[in-house]
């Protein structure tokens, strides 16, 4: 009975998934979760839509509260408790009780590191001024929303043209704020190929955003009362009353590395497909941990809630004594900008190239549904291995109903299907849903 205490560092997607799964399987475990913030299991992905006013209550973004975990699951969640270090020899963590500013030790038999990620914030002049925001924690959504209500900004700069950048550009435009998006790369959406990203960029500009690529953030001008007034890039100065940074995320793992636990890609905790670290009885999952890429057979760093939940589930199963593993991720992702849906999975053309594949590509435009039913359009790009025809990746942009098809390609890649398999597979058809050849199959035909 002495080996029955799990300590979890981090009370969000991965940590709480693991804790809940363990509790369902093992009634006799003591489970303690240390969360540095005040909330558990909140949906950070929902924040742009909260700020946009699409979600009535900020608290509806919380899937389960600490009280729920305590009462319904017998999981001892201690919020505002930050783990500062791990002593792997003595099997304990040192915790800072932030509310009372007291440090204490907590022993564990098993430890799950689910300490999450933080936004990348460049250390440049003026970065700490008022009006400059990141998605740091649950309160960020509310802070941005309140800032907009109180300060009525008229000009926004979004730094970074990835998923958060695109979603916040949509949100701010729809709040009638002038939006400029800057990205240091030659294109938006670096996980997609340039000609596909260009379709997104064109739509954003059509809907009123200014898009500046190949342009780096250098600093800010700040008003006498401490608020941002200008964003300085290497090419220009852009007036701004509000700035959103969407410059990527980095794992919260400094204290993990210092404890002697191996870190890997981008300093994420090195884990195998069972979510085991290099130290016995220590697992890691979620935004702080690596992911195994099914196509490249290498470790990736992916900070997405869907991966975090699945890693947490598998970690929980393994902590409970099972032997479960994640076959791998494909970097499947989806978002939208107004009515333009955007999705990708597997390898883009440039990723296939850099991973050393010989490949072919096909790109098609099709109506989303039967052309006589509705004229709305979508674009599909497929990447497949040259000699075998095995599918390697897909990118989709298009109107309502287009993008969730990416899951069919993700499933196909997971199953090592070829373009010919996809072409002839028995997919669903009715005029309100697709053309008689689904656009994915039209693209597969072109590839074949």
């Amino acid at each position: 009975m002495s080996k029955n205490k799990l300590v979890v560092i981090g009370g969000n997607a991965a940590g709480m998934s693991a804790a809940s799964k363990l509790r369902r399987l093992k009634k006799n475990y003591e489970i303690v979760v240390f969360e540095k913030g005040r909330h558990t299991s909140y949906a950070s992905c929902g924040m742009p839509y909260y700020i946009a006013g699409k979600i009535n209550s900020h608290s509806s973004l919380i899937a389960r509260s600490p009280e729920t975990f305590r009462e319904k699951y017998n999981i001892d969640v201690r919020t505002e408790n930050q783990v500062e270090s791990i002593n792997i020899k003595r099997k304990l963590v040192i915790v800072n009780d932030l509310a009372n500013n007291k440090t204490f030790e907590e022993k564990y038999d098993k430890l799950l590191i689910a300490s999450g990620s933080s936004p990348v914030v460049p250390q440049i002049n003026g970065i700490n001024s008022g009006g400059i925001f990141t998605f740091e924690a649950f309160r960020s959504g509310k802070e941005i929303s309140e800032f907009i209500t109180n300060n009525k900004p008229r000009k926004a700069v979004v730094v970074g043209g990835g998923y958060i950048g695109i979603e916040m550009a949509e949100t701010l435009l729809n709040l009638n704020i002038d939006v400029s998006v800057i990205d240091m790369a030659p294109q938006l959406m670096v996980s997609m190929d340039r000609e596909i990203a260009e379709i997104v960029s064109m739509q954003m500009q059509k809907d009123g955003a200014k898009v500046y690529t190949d342009e780096s953030l250098k600093g800010f001008d700040v008003t006498s009362d401490g608020n941002v007034s200008v964003v300085i890039t290497d090419k220009q100065k852009i007036s701004a009353d509000i700035v959103i940074l969407g410059m990527g995320r980095k794992p919260n793992t400094k204290f993990v590395g210092e404890a002697g636990i191996e870190l890997g890609v981008k300093n994420a905790v090195r884990v195998n497909q069972k979510l085991e670290t290099n130290i016995t009885d220590i697992w890691a999952a979620g935004d702080c941990a690596e992911s195994y890429n099914l196509l490249t057979n290498s470790q990736n760093y992916i900070a997405l809630g869907t991966v975090a939940n699945k890693q947490g589930l598998v970690a929980g199963l393994n902590i409970a004594g099972q032997s479960e593993y994640i076959k791998g991720v494909l970097g499947t992702a989806i978002t939208k900008f107004n009515n333009l849906e955007i999705a990708r999975t597997g390898l883009s053309e440039k990723e296939a190239k850099s991973a050393g594949f010989e490949f072919v590509t096909a790109q098609i435009e099709s109506t989303v549904v039967a052309s006589y039913y509705d004229k709305k359009k979508m674009t599909v790009k497929l990447v497949a291995e040259k000699n075998t025809g095995r599918l390697l990746g897909a990118q989709i942009v298009g109107s309502l109903g287009a993008a969730k098809r990416i899951d069919v390609v993700a499933t196909s890649i997971f199953s090592k299907l070829t373009a010919k398999d996809l072409m002839l597979m028995d997919l669903s058809y009715a005029p309100p849903f697709s053309p008689v050849w689904d656009p994915l199959q039209i693209a597969a035909r072109k590839l074949v």
Copy 2:
């Protein structure tokens, strides 16, 4: 050079797909298509939506005209030419030129039978009265539409609660016609399990349709001017100014069997996965032919445009000398009733039982997208093999955006994935598109 003439019987999805594919691969072939109707390649699936007024022009349902085939593809399409018999020894067909009422012989080197299907029409009293319609040919959509415009029917009976029945019930209700649906089975949508079909039935009734199951069509009362006035079932009489029959389809193969070509399930032409019949140099594809079911390893009869197109493509490749085959169908199908989307693939619970599988099922209700983003709901039922966990089937009903997910399960079944594979697969997530666990994965978790 003597072996280079293809004759195609039937100028629709399967026949024209094959002919076009052959033309792309072989410039030197002579290709003759005999089509008994006046049109080629029309989208019969679009007819309910044409009648509903959602599609402006009837001709937009024609993908390609006979002239286009002749001019762009050098395919000699002869409309209003009905093949009456096949002489396999002399390698010729006997054709009736309907417009001129002349019969002639046409030799072939290779023959594709793509003679399609006809609606099942019970031979009962009054069946030929005015106001009783089936989807027989391209003109049917226009005829029904004109009848509604001219006669302004107020009460409709739809016989058969399958796909056509449901789509026509939607159409007629939205034209402010009172609708009763009758089905001889104990439920609508016999290809789905009863509790799922019940969700559809409830929605139909909520939206104003009357639904009568376990009730058989017996006859009609007819007015003095020859129009239907009452539908007589084994249980009641229902007033009706218009009747739509959606009682299934049967292959047009009488002349095929008479020629000595083997017929199979429901008298569809027996074909292997290469679409070859039992006679050398004769292929069959589309609604007149069998389909090979990937799960039961047996022949099925499926009359769907999407299957017809794929069979036609593969037949065309093989006629051109390749050796291509269709791995199998899953009976994937999708439709909608107003805002309720409906889809299925693989085996329902009752089909799994009758195919002799030991199986488990899971049924879940979930929001279609993140619950804080939109509350609209969907139901997923999964069927999996008992010991292996291999997925066997899925049924989905739900709000906008729900049903096209069926393709992910179709792909999973095609790939012999297990429920656990589906649960942990890297599917896409963003709040406007799905919960962080896609509803399919929630169902897969329940199954695991």
